[in-house]
Each structure stands twice: as structure tokens, then as C-alpha cells.
Symmetry: D4
Subunit: 253 residues, 8 copies
């Protein structure tokens, strides 16, 4: 429980103040010097642990893995991890798995039931695959059924139209596209499900590192499209997961 939760409970009279005071003194994380490892995030956001590896040394990443495990973590996802980071972690935690194209390390020690609801990850071109992979691996790690359709750029509409079944079946659709990012608009016009658009940095010249796709997606003429940061496949999957979990919650109730 974080501070606000404790306060909340005091206010709702679910917690007496002595216990509250006790809780307030117990650190909810470990300070490794280079990182504060938060052992209540899974409780708070309802998911397993996540590490963002960019800008961290292989040694730091391994250290975070070990600290998390020592505090009871079963399932860990580490994004933007290169092969060196993988090898560094694997020395101490041999049962991790490396998804090279997605640049993701996963540890899965606790079993996870797969939801019925499905997330579709569509990408415009072969070059968008790493971002689409980051989204797909993340979504699967979070317990979702993931379907994939690749290389369905809008310059060859018939390819996309031949995959309409997949679009219709999905509960949430993630669209990864670089260059002019038009796939998000076209998919958004074909469905009434939530669409999450991920601009990719694929392209050259006036794509300006994904800016062209980003602006296009934000200006999407189809309504019902939310955009995440350039190349942020993880964020797209995380948002998709929060949507599916909401549906799941009401399905159960």
C-alpha cells in the first residue's frame, strides 16, 4: 500500500491509526543507489514487475532483477534490453527468455491464465516489426491472447482488407506504422473498437525520426484512436491491457 492508500483506508475507517503509522515507517521499496526498486507496484497497478533498460548498464539491470526476485517477484519484463544485458542477467537468473527482435527479456515463474479477449497487433511494413514485436511480447506477458498481422501498409489496401476477419475479432487493436502512419486512420475507420497507434521511427528524410507518423496519427481523421510515443510498443500494449482488463472485470461482475 502506498501513502495515499493508507490515508484512504484511515478515512474510510478500514484501518486504525496505529497500524497506519506503522505502515508509514516501513519502506515500500529498496534503494539500490542507482534505482529505487518498488515492491508494491504490482499490487498497485495489478501487474507484474517491469524494468526499462535503456540508459542502465548491464550490471544495474542484473542487480534490479536480483533484488526483485529476492523480494518475491515471480514474473518480470525488461524492455529495451540488448543482448549484452540479456547475458549479464542470465548469469544470475538462468531461466529468463530473450526476445531478440522485441529487445525484451522475460522471466515467468508464476503461471498466467490467458484472457479470452484478444489484442490485434497490426504493422504497416517489415521494418516496423521490432516495435510491433515489443507490443506483442508485452501484451502476451500481461496475459492477453495476441493476434498478429504484418506488412499491411495502405499502399496495398487489398492486403489489409483480406485480413478483415482479424480486425473484427479483436477487442483492442494496436497499429504500428512509420513513414506516413496512415494505417492508423484506415484501421480506425474500419472498426469501432479502441485503436492504439504507435508511430515508429521507420523512414528516412522528411520522416524526421518518426515525427511524420506521429503527427499524422495525432491528426487521424478517424475518431477513437489514442497515440503513444514513437517506437513505444510497450506503452501501447500496457494501455491495451488496461482496456482489456476493464472489460474482463465487468465480464466477471
Amino acid at each position: 500500500m502506498n501513502i495515499n492508500d493508507i490515508l484512504e483506508r484511515v478515512r474510510r475507517r478500514e484501518l486504525d491509526t496505529a497500524s497506519a503509522a506503522e505502515l508509514l515507517r516501513t519502506p515500500a521499496y529498496d534503494d539500490l543507489g542507482y534505482a529505487m526498486v518498488d515492491h508494491q507496484r504490482s499490487l498497485r497497478t495489478g501487474e507484474s514487475e517491469v524494468i526499462y533498460c535503456a540508459g542502465k548498464t548491464p550490471g544495474q539491470i542484473a542487480g534490479i532483477f536480483q533484488n526483485m526476485i529476492s523480494r518475491g517477484a515471480k514474473n518480470i519484463l525488461a524492455t529495451r534490453a540488448d543482448a549484452e544485458a540479456y547475458r549479464s542477467v542470465a548469469e544470475h537468473v538462468p531461466d529468463i527468455q530473450y526476445h531478440a527482435s522485441a529487445r525484451i527479456i522475460t522471466l515467468r515463474r508464476a503461471p498466467q491464465t490467458v484472457r479470452e479477449h484478444g489484442i490485434l497487433v497490426a504493422c504497416a511494413g517489415t521494418s516496423d516489426l521490432p516495435v510491433a514485436d515489443e507490443a506483442a511480447v508485452t501484451a502476451e506477458f500481461l496475459g492477453n491472447r495476441v493476434e498478429r498481422i504484418s506488412d499491411v501498409g495502405v499502399a496495398g489496401l487489398h492486403r489489409l482488407l483480406s485480413k478483415l476477419d482479424g480486425v473484427r475479432r479483436a477487442d483492442v487493436i494496436i497499429v504500428a506504422a512509420g513513414m506516413e502512419g496512415a494505417l492508423a486512420s484506415v484501421v480506425g475507420g474500419l472498426t469501432d473498437k479502441p485503436v492504439i497507434a504507435v508511430p515508429t521511427s521507420v523512414g528516412y528524410g522528411a520522416s524526421f525520426g518518426g515525427l511524420a507518423a506521429l503527427l499524422a496519427m495525432l491528426n487521424c481523421c478517424a475518431s477513437g484512436v489514442g497515440v503513444v510515443n514513437i517506437d513505444n510498443g510497450f506503452g501501447a500494449a500496457f494501455l491495451a491491457n488496461s482496456i482489456v482488463r476493464l472489460a474482463e472485470k465487468y465480464a466477471k461482475s
Copy 2:
């Protein structure tokens, strides 16, 4: 039904080809010269009709209203409508309603049940209200229960924290914020529900018309946040509605 639906049905053998050919010859929209009014959108996207008024003359807007009504539309929402547009439409359709702050015209002739699931619309400052209003009026028009919290910018965290009940109750949260747009990050860290961030053009100097807030929201350190275009309150509500509808569908099944 649109062309692809017809094709789908033929492929699924739900429709014989003669009927399909007949359908293909019937126009699914009216061409008013200045606009193609689409009479199947409500069917296709499951919602009522929507008009985007910016760049259209009052006369054109009134013309689209009349055409839609003549073809059976009961509920119409028109965004970015100024007072002149409202007066022009009201001459022919007196039972419309004008939401001045949100710049929205609504026509509601068919009753609409309000969903149990709730959308929270939070805004950072008083100046963000018009965008938050556009989101709230749209969400209500689409059948959602809407809660509002206003003026909860991150420089006064305690205001936001005092409204945590509202944050917890919501199924989907829309955050409208200009300036540095930090409210999206803070709210995103307090909830595990889907958050839709709307940067507003509120600010001056280096806010560059909302660019600062837009970039901040895209770089949001909290996961699970999707971003729509600057000032696009409508788009945020439309996306939130598609998420709630998904939950509703599974609740019913």
C-alpha cells in the same frame, strides 16, 4: 452496410450475390456537393451522427443537419460550432441545444440509456475547461455517466489527492491539461485504468500552442496513457466511449 461488409457476408455465405449486387448499386450516402453525408455510419460505428463544423459555413452545417434528419437521424452531435452556426441550424431545427463553453450543438430525439460505467474528465486549470467540456458533453451524448474534477493542476497536489475517490470510481479517465501537461503523468501513476490525455493549447511563450503539453504527455513516464490531438476533447471522449462500450459488451455476454 458498406462495400466490405457486403463482401464479407458473401464470403460467409450469409448473403446471395444477387442481393449483394443490388446493395452495391444503392448509394449509402447523399452527395450535397460540399459534403457526402453518410447514412450508414451510425450502423457501422454503433453511434449517432457527428458533424465537425470547423471550416464549414453556417449554411453548410444547417444543410447537413437537415439532410441527416430527412434520412432518419434522431441524435446528432456537432463540434467546433460557434454561436452563428447554432443560430443557423436552430432556424430549421428548433429543438437543438447549444453548449457554449464546449462549442457543441446537440440534437437528441431518441432517448438514450446511460451506462453504469463512468468516465472521469479531469482538467488541470480553469483555462482548460472548454476542452474538458467538449470531452464531457460528447461523452454524455454517447450515453456515458460523466464525473468532472476541475482545476487540479500538479502544483497543488493536495487538491488532486483530495479527489482520489473520483479517480478510483472511474472506469476510464480523460485528462485535459495545457502548460507542461504533467497531470497526465500524475493521474496515470495513481490508477490502473485506461487514461486518455488531451493536451490543450493553454499556455504562452514556450508552450508553442500546446506542443509542450503534447510532447510531455507522449513522454509520460506512467504507462497506460494514450494521447489525442491538441484540444481534441471530442476525440478523447470518443475513444473513452469505445473502451466503455467494450466493457459493456462483455458485461452483457
Copy 3:
């Protein structure tokens, strides 16, 4: 003939040097102080006279019209002309015509045969109409058969697909679109004819005055698409005309 043409002809021995020297002394334009009116442009580019009115006063525009007519011009096209410019010119040249939506003044005193080859002007939304009109009026002025399809944005693909006959019939296609500009990509993927994309300044927020559409069109994943400046309907039509004229030339030979 301009200086280089004269030189060319001397080199090709088509012109004796005495005549050449004479030609070099004859001014090929009138200097009105505020503008040099070029009376050989029609000869050189093979078209009628054109005036770009933005940044010129109504009086200057009227002066240029009169000078051109006094030197024998029959057909004149003036773009970016507001109503005041029109009235100013009409006082002296009553047989001009004003195309309000396209903001174009035309004078047509010499008859013009209409080519068989056709130019299609497609626009994504109602708000793009003024730019599409500038393109269409220009293309017609230059002697082309023009077909129009409006309001065929990619979020409603079936509208565009229902107009495929028009796309197939055209020899050159001009696509005017604001917001995310995706129509250029989709049309470019449906045809093997030259496509000229005109980004429009339609949109708000992160469209940044047409920048989003411009970048998208430049990054168009469909090959065979050339882009002109934001809102430059005239330039698109001029380029389309030069393409059709090339085809015409070979058809005649």
C-alpha cells in the same frame, strides 16, 4: 523568345546574328515599377498569363490586368484574389469571372478546346474544398477536362472505393487533404497514374498549419506521388496540366 532561346537559335543557325542582336535590344516585358509584366511567358511555357495576387494591392492587380490586355493577352488567371481585388479589376475589365471558393479571377476571351484526357481532383473533407477548387478551376482554365470527388477521407474507405470508376478513368489525379493527409497514400496505392498531392492547412492542434499532412505525403508509402506546397492547388493543377500536355503531344505525333 528569351535570351537563351535566341542564343540557341543562333547556335542552331536558325537565326542570323543581326536579327538576334535586334531581338536582344527589344524589352520582352513592361516594368510597371511594382512588377515586371512578362509578355513572352505564354510563348515560353505554352500557357496563358497568370497573376499571383497575394501581397499585391487591388490597384496593383488591376494595373497588371490592364497592362497584359494592352499587350494582347486574351486569357488571364489570377489566384489568391479576394473579393476586393475582384471588384477593383472588374471596374476596368468587366468580362472577368470570380470563383469565390477558389479565390480565382479568370478572363477568357480566346476560346479553348478541352482536352480528352482528364484530371481527377479528389479531396478528403469538406474543409479541403477551397484548395481543391483552386486546383479544379486552374486545371479547367488550362484546357483540361476535370472530374471531382469530394469528402472521401480514409476513415470512410467505402466512400472512396465506391468512386473507383473515377479514379480509374483519370489520367492524372490531384489529391487535396489536410489533417493526416492519408488519402494520397491510399489513392496512390489504387492507381498507376501520376498522383499529385496537395497538403492543406485544414486541421488544428498538431496539424501545425498543414505540416502534418505535408510530412505524411512526403513519406507516402505508395510510389509515384509528387507533392506541392501546402494549399497550393494552383501548382498541383499546373503540374498536372504539364503532364497531360506531354501525353497530348505524343498522341498527336
Copy 4:
């Protein structure tokens, strides 16, 4: 045939619905996992196969070549291919050719008649040569007669003027220029043929990777100039080819 073609034919009664249903079930492409190879593009766009290599591994590129050949492709053009990609493909397809400066791999097994109509590729400086080469090699691959003039920047106008014969002979002119990109304006003023401008990323400082040339070309004061993406020699040639093919079609008819 793609889905829309099939539909078209049904509507035109050129195809009975049973055959149509059959065609709909036959995949028109191969899904290699990392790419969907489209075996009907040549039919649809009237050209041979094209591969964009940037962002693909040498292995993937070789795989796409082999799949295309196995399905009957005779002529293949692969752009943005480095030497490693070339070697990887050459192991399996020894009769390919590598154009180092243009970074293009070509396979030519079917003979191709060369059109009478000519494309001129002009470039402003020595440093623009790789982009001009990409344009020239592509245009030749597509069956065009290509003429080249190099190093004719506007700071030495007399060089360009000494090449006016070439400019006059061409049916379509491609201009590749970095730095201030002024060559497009000057050439555009000297001809009434279609001009396709390719900004290159040549330059330093405030050229901002080709942005200066791109903006200059879009603001070109000469009419009749279409612009493609920075360094996109392929796209310029593809557009030029579509223009020449149009002329050719009418010449034949």
C-alpha cells in the same frame, strides 16, 4: 487481382460470382513471417517487383528475392541495399547486378524494350550523385531512356545553360539538389515539361539534413514542380516513369 478488382468485375458482370468467391479464397501473396510478398503488384501497378531494403536484414532480403523468383518474378529492383545485402542475395541469385553508388540491386531476366521518351536526371553537385544515381538506375530499370547532367549548381549558371539541349530534349526532368535546392526553381523556369524535385541531405549546418532544400523546393517560384521525400531518388524515378507511361499509352492509342 485484388479484392476490389474482383468486386469491380462482378459489378461490371465480367466475372460470375462463383469464380469471384473462389478467387477470394486464394491468397494473392506469401506470408514469410517478416514480410508479405505480393505477387500481384506487377499486374496491378504495371511494373516489376520492388524491394525496399532499409531496415531489413541481408537474410530477409535474400528470402524475399527467392520467394519472388519462386513465384515467377523475372525483374526485381532492390533499393537502399548495402554491399552486405548484395553478397547475401548473390549467394542464391548469382545473376543479380549491384549499382554501388545508387545502392541498388537489380535482377533482369526478362528483356525490356526501352521507351523513346526520355527522362533527364540533373544534379546540382558531386555530392548529390548517389541520389541522382538511385533515380537514374531506377528509371532505366523501368524501361526509360535516361540522360544525365551532373554538377550544374546555380552558382555557375553557365554550366547549366550550356546543357540546355538536354533540358529541351527531355520529356520529364528529375532534379536532385541539396544545400539550398535552387536548381529546381531554375530548371522549372527553363522548361514547360513536368519537373520532379528531389531534395538531398547534402549540406551541413542549417541544411538540417535536407530540410533547407526540401522547403526551398516546396516554395519553388516556378510552377509545375512536384517534390518527393529527401533523398528519394527511387520515388522520383517511379513518378517520372508513370508520367512517361501515360504519354506512351496515348501515343499508342
Copy 5:
């Protein structure tokens, strides 16, 4: 004399320290509250007084004029002055002159010999005239012989080439051009004299308020071109004047 001059003279033993101390206590300017009017600038920079009017009220501008005159100023140039500023000053200083197109007020009470050396002000289009006028009026005010050539954009090279005599005669050339700003490159290639390029904010769409012309001029492939701020005709003339004055100084010595 300013503080550094005084110090210099002390160091060079040209001034005894008592006199220096005295000078240091005498204010060299008047503090009007809203402006410090510097009565030594003409001494220091060798020119008459200059006022930049943008952002100052008509009353403030009139106040500065009056203060300068009261302290002995004979010749004053005020740039970016609108008609209201002119009227406000003229009430108190009736012998001023207003150059409407150049938006300049001049006061000339002391006679000025005109230099033999000439400055050429060339502009690309009619719309660039106000900026060219600001440069020309300023250069004349500073005592230079000014020649003008207008409307010589690079899309009509023959116009410029027909004016080569003027280009050759000039000692310094100012080029004012908007849109793609290519005139600076072409003129720079035709002369070995110093060229000062002034980008103008003329243009639309992707000219981005003169940015396109500015970048083009900075990337000018012709060497020997210096650039000043967008629309800064005054600055170009001031720089040109400092160059001509240098030549004049050596001619005299």
C-alpha cells in the same frame, strides 16, 4: 566618448586621468524612462541616429525624436513606423518625410554628399518590394547611390540576365527574396562583389514565415553571401553601407 574609449585614451596617454574621471561622471545619454537615448552613437558608429519603432507607442517615438533633436541631431531614420507613428511625430517635427511602402520616417536637416560607390537592391517578386524599399531608403539615407531591379525571380532567368549591367556596376548587392530565396544563389554566382541576402516572409504554406528562404540563403552554394534576419531590409543596408564606407576610406587614403 564611451567608457572604453576613455579608458583606451588613458592607456594611450592621450587623456590625463583627471579629465577622464570628469568624463565618466557626465551622462552620455538621456534616460527617458522608456528609452535611453544615446547621443554618442553617431560619433561611435559614424552614422546618423536610428530609431527602431516596432513595440514602441507613437507617443514614445515622438518623444525620442524630440529628445534627439534637442540634443543636436540633424538626420534621423525611424524604421518599422506605421502611419500613426508618422502622424504623431509630424505634430512636433513637421519636416519629416514618410516612406509608406518602406515603413520608414526620415528627418534630413544636414546635407549629405552621395557616395560614388553604388548599392544594388534586387528583389525577386512584387511582394518583396516593402523589404527592398526598407533597404533602399536606408541605404540612400546613409549617403549611398542606390540602383533598383525588381521582379527578377529565378523562374524567369532571362529577366535577371537582361539586367546584368546593373549587377556588374554595383559595388555591393542586396538581394531580397521570399519563397525559396534562390535569387541570392544565382546572383552570388554571377558576381564577385559582396552579396547581402535578406530573406522575406513572403510566401505561404511551407515557407513558414520566411524560414524556407532563410535556410536556403544560409545554404547558398555561391560563396561570398552574408545573410541578415527575415525582412531586415534595414540591417542589410546598414551592412552594405559599412562595406562601401570601408572602400571609401581606402579610396581617400
Copy 6:
């Protein structure tokens, strides 16, 4: 006290939990619908009340004034207030004062001792005065002794150098400058006191609304310079005040 303060006190055993619970239920602000008026901010930040008027209607501004007064506020500062806002407030609160150049409304009912420590507000040109005024009026409202030096741009170094006494006397220096913003660097090099730089939107062309000055100030080669938003005179004064208050606190202790 805000929520966190309450919690803090509980943790420090300064507050018993019953009182804490009570406090938690008492709203610390009034919700006016369009604004949450925070009646604990003065307590929390140690200053009087502040209203940012941009984007608020005159009626809303008057409403906030009245609410604040009704809850006991004595001193109120309202920035970015135009004359209409002033008149609207003055109808209900006649003892306010309007600072036209600074666009500030002040209410001062409680007396305020003026600190001994001084803030210097320097501005580069006459056009920067409104921003400098916003800073000066704010700093005085917050109880500081303010000195002003105006029109000391770096092109006339001697003016600035003649004011060195003022620079030396100040405890904190605010520098407001547009155009190239170099005054911050020069002042920063002349003092070892904290310097707060405010870029202003003064300038034209490539100043891009203050961007040039902003970037220059951020890249300031003198150390010890902090930058606030473009035209943010209020923010500069607020920061300066927090620095002076810190010094004051230690002087007292």
C-alpha cells in the same frame, strides 16, 4: 494545511489522529465550478494570493477576487489582466490598482514591510518594458525593494557598464531581453549573484516569438543563470523572491 502536511504531523506525533480525520473532511478550497479557489496556498507558499487571468473571462476573474476576499484574503495579485478585466473587478472591489504596462491588477489591504535585499530588473530595449514591468510590479507586491535599469542592450555596452553600481548592489538580478537575448550572458559574466533570465517575444523574423532569445539564454556561456518561460516576468519575480526570502530567513536566524 494540506493532506500531506496533516500526514506529516501525524507521523511527527504533533497531531492526534482524530483531529487529523476532522481536518481531512474540511475542504481547503472553494469550488466555483470554473475554478477551485485555494485558501491555503498563502499558508503553504508563504505569499499572498495570485490569479493568472489569461483564458479566464472578466466575470470569472471578478468572481475569484470576491471569493478570495470573502475567505479573508487581504493582498491579491492578478497577472495578464487586460483593461476589461480590471473594470469588471473594480465594480465589486473598488480599491484595486491597475498597472497598465505590466497588465497586473493588485489589491493591497494588509501592509507589507519592504525587505532590505534588493532585486534589480534590467531590460535590453524599450520593447522589453512590459515584461520587465510585470517582473518589477510582482517583486514589489511580494515585499521586495526593486531597482530598474532599462534599454541596456549589448550593442551599446557602455550604457550597461555605466550602470555597474546597480548591478553590484543587487542581491538577485532579473534580465529581460528579446532578439538575441545576449544581455543575460553579459550580466551573468559581470556578477556572482543569481541571475534570472526572461526571454521576451520581442523581435521579428527569425526570433520566432522569443525562441531565439530563449535558446540563447539556455546556452548562456556565463554560469549561474536560470531561465523562465518567454515573457514570464511574473515567474522570474516569484523565483527571485524565493531566493531573497531564503537569504532573509538566514539573516534572521
Copy 7:
């Protein structure tokens, strides 16, 4: 003493003019060819010597160290120094210390008393550590007591809130944050002490090298926040130090 100091003293009659003239002839720095080493800066700014190493060769850096020491420098701080620079200096000056994460070399030969006043350096994530380290090492070198809190990004507010004691204890707070930079706003809202915000280049995609955080911090809705350049930990510490020194000065008086 620099020139202006000398002049000042003359004006204040603290220095006779003969001594002044002598001082003016004595160089106050050594010209090493590649750098002018200033031996009066410490006197002038009240601190030890500082070297900015970026863009200097290891040999040049060593040369500057040696020259400074030869002229009496005791304490030297060198920022942006890589390991190679460290090794190059250590050959000649073995008693230097290298702070690898902060990329700083320090030489400390004169003892330094540590101030009572404290500077808090807070950073949002592990990846911001190098910038926070540059700030912390610099602040300590300058004689300050430094406290650190790391990894307190706003997506996990409770971490920050659990550290409120540290925030309250500090006299000046430095906040280093990349991505959306929201930590500055939140911290600014929790304190009334001066806050110095350092945007870091941490992030990807639309963070555009720290631009997103920079804009966010400039638009900070909390007042009293000054911003320094992206990644400029040194500048933040230097400004913080000048603030603390001011407080110290008044505490002593």
C-alpha cells in the same frame, strides 16, 4: 581585478590612476594559443577554477590544468571529461580525482569548509543519474552540503511523498528529469524554496533529445522554478551555489 573593477575603484577614489594604469598593462590571463586561462576568475566570481572539457583534446585539458596550477590555483573542477582526459591530466597532476558517472575531474588542494545550508538534488529516474551526479559533485566541490534522492518520478508519487523530509530540509532544490520532466512541477508545488530544473536528454522518440522535458519545465505551472540547459548539471549547481552563498552572506552580516 578586471578592467571594470579597476575603473570602478578609480571612480570610487580607492585607487590612484598611476596604479590603475600599471594594472591595465599587466595581463590577467595566459594565452595558451588554444585557450586564454583567466587567473582572476576566482577573484571575480568568488569560486575556484572551472574547465569545460567538451571539444577540447586531452592534451589541451592537461595543458590548462598545468597552467592554472603554475599560477597558483589550488582547487579545479573539470566537467564533461571522459576517461581519456582524466588519464592525460593524471600523468602530470596525480592527485586529481575522477567521478566517472558525473564525468568530472576534481583537484582539491586547499581545504574547504562545508556550508550549513543544504542543496537537495532530486532525479526522476535511474537514467537521469549522470546529470544529477554532475550537479551533486559540482555543488559539493563548491562547498555545499548535498543531499540526494533518486528515482522519484511522478508516476510513483508515494516515493516522492515518502521523501518529503528531505524536500523540506533543503534550502535550494535541483530537479533533474528527462521524459516529460513533470517532477519539477510537482516538487515546485511542494516547496517555497528556489527550485532549479535541469531537463535531461533521457527518453526516446518524441522526447527529441530532451526538448520535451525542457519545454515542460519552462511551462511549469508551479511558480519559482528556473531552468538551465538540457543535461547542464554543472550550471544548476553553480546557480544553486550562488543562491546559497547569498543566504550565507546575509547570515554572516
Copy 8:
């Protein structure tokens, strides 16, 4: 002579048409395939040959050197040349000289008198030296007397002020500065000679590769400053040389 010169002479009756025709057929340059080497440029611009090496292979650069020499060139300057280019040329032309910091190769076989007039090259910091060196080496190659002052950034004004003699002596001043580029403004305010400002890419963070310095210099509040491209030391020297040559011409006449 170029085409226009020939034409000019024909028009002035200085050349009969037969000779003119002959001249027109003689190529004035050699086409090496990868470059057109222009053997009349020295005639036309009055200087020796110049090669811009960036984007050219060492082999191409050596080839151009050899061609120029074979056609009679005596003095050659090659900019942006790395050590490898130098070695490649030196194999064939051993008497070249390499200026490593300036990245320039020079060949000097014809003696050159040094002008009396002097060019001052001032640079703000040690890191700006390579750009200042490019300017100085170029200016010397072109026959100018060059003086240098280094490391005179505006944060230490006294260093610059101590070098005022050099500033006063110079006829033209080149200022190279990165970061905030304020040196150009300060120098511009201290002199009435032409100032040429070269922004350098020195800096980090919000210097954006020299953009901050570029914008600052364009917005320079001192009049009489012309700006060249970022890092373009060569261009600054070339412009300075054209100014000095003009003075020289009048001194001789």
C-alpha cells in the same frame, strides 16, 4: 568566358558573332563523370580554385586536384578534407600542405602578395577554434593579412575589452561563436566595420547543433552584421575577402 559574358560582349560589339559561335562550342570545363571541373571560375570570380571535399571520396578529390593542375591551376584550396583525403592527394601532388585543425588542404605554386588590409578572426571559446581556423586559413590563402583573437566569450568581457586594439585595427571582422553566439552582438556594438558572424555547432542540449547561435546572430541587436551557415568558416572568409578586395580596388583607382 561563360555564355553570358560572350553574349554581353556581342551586345557591346566587342566580339564578332563568328568568334562567339566558336567559343560556344568549346567546353569551359572537364567532365570527370563525378564532377565538372570548371576552368574558368578563377577568371570569373577572381580567385584560385576551391574544392569542397565533404561527400567526395579521397580518390575523387585527388582526381579533381590532378585535373585542375593539368589545366594550369597553380593555387588550390580544399576544405572539409580529412587526413585520409590529404594522404590520397599527397601521393600525386606532394607539395600540398595540410592544416589539420582547419581540415584544409592547400596547394600554393604561384606566389601571392599579401594585402595591407586586415581581417580579424575572433572566436568565443577554445571549442570554436576549428571553425575559426577554417576562416583564417582560407583568408590567408586568398591573400589577406589575418589577425586572431581566441577565447574572448562575453561571460568574461574584460578579455575582449583588453583586445580592443585588434578590433579597431581590422577592416573586416569575422566572429565565430557557438552556444548563445552573443560575441557577434558585442563586437558589432564596438565597431563600425563590417562584421561577419559564423555560428558554430559548439554546445550541447538546447544549442541544437548550432541553431541557438544561428538564431541569436540573425537577431543581433547590433546593425551591420551578416551571417553565414553554421560552421562555415570558409564562407565567412570568402565574403570578407570580397569586401577587402572591393576596398583594394578603390584604393588603387
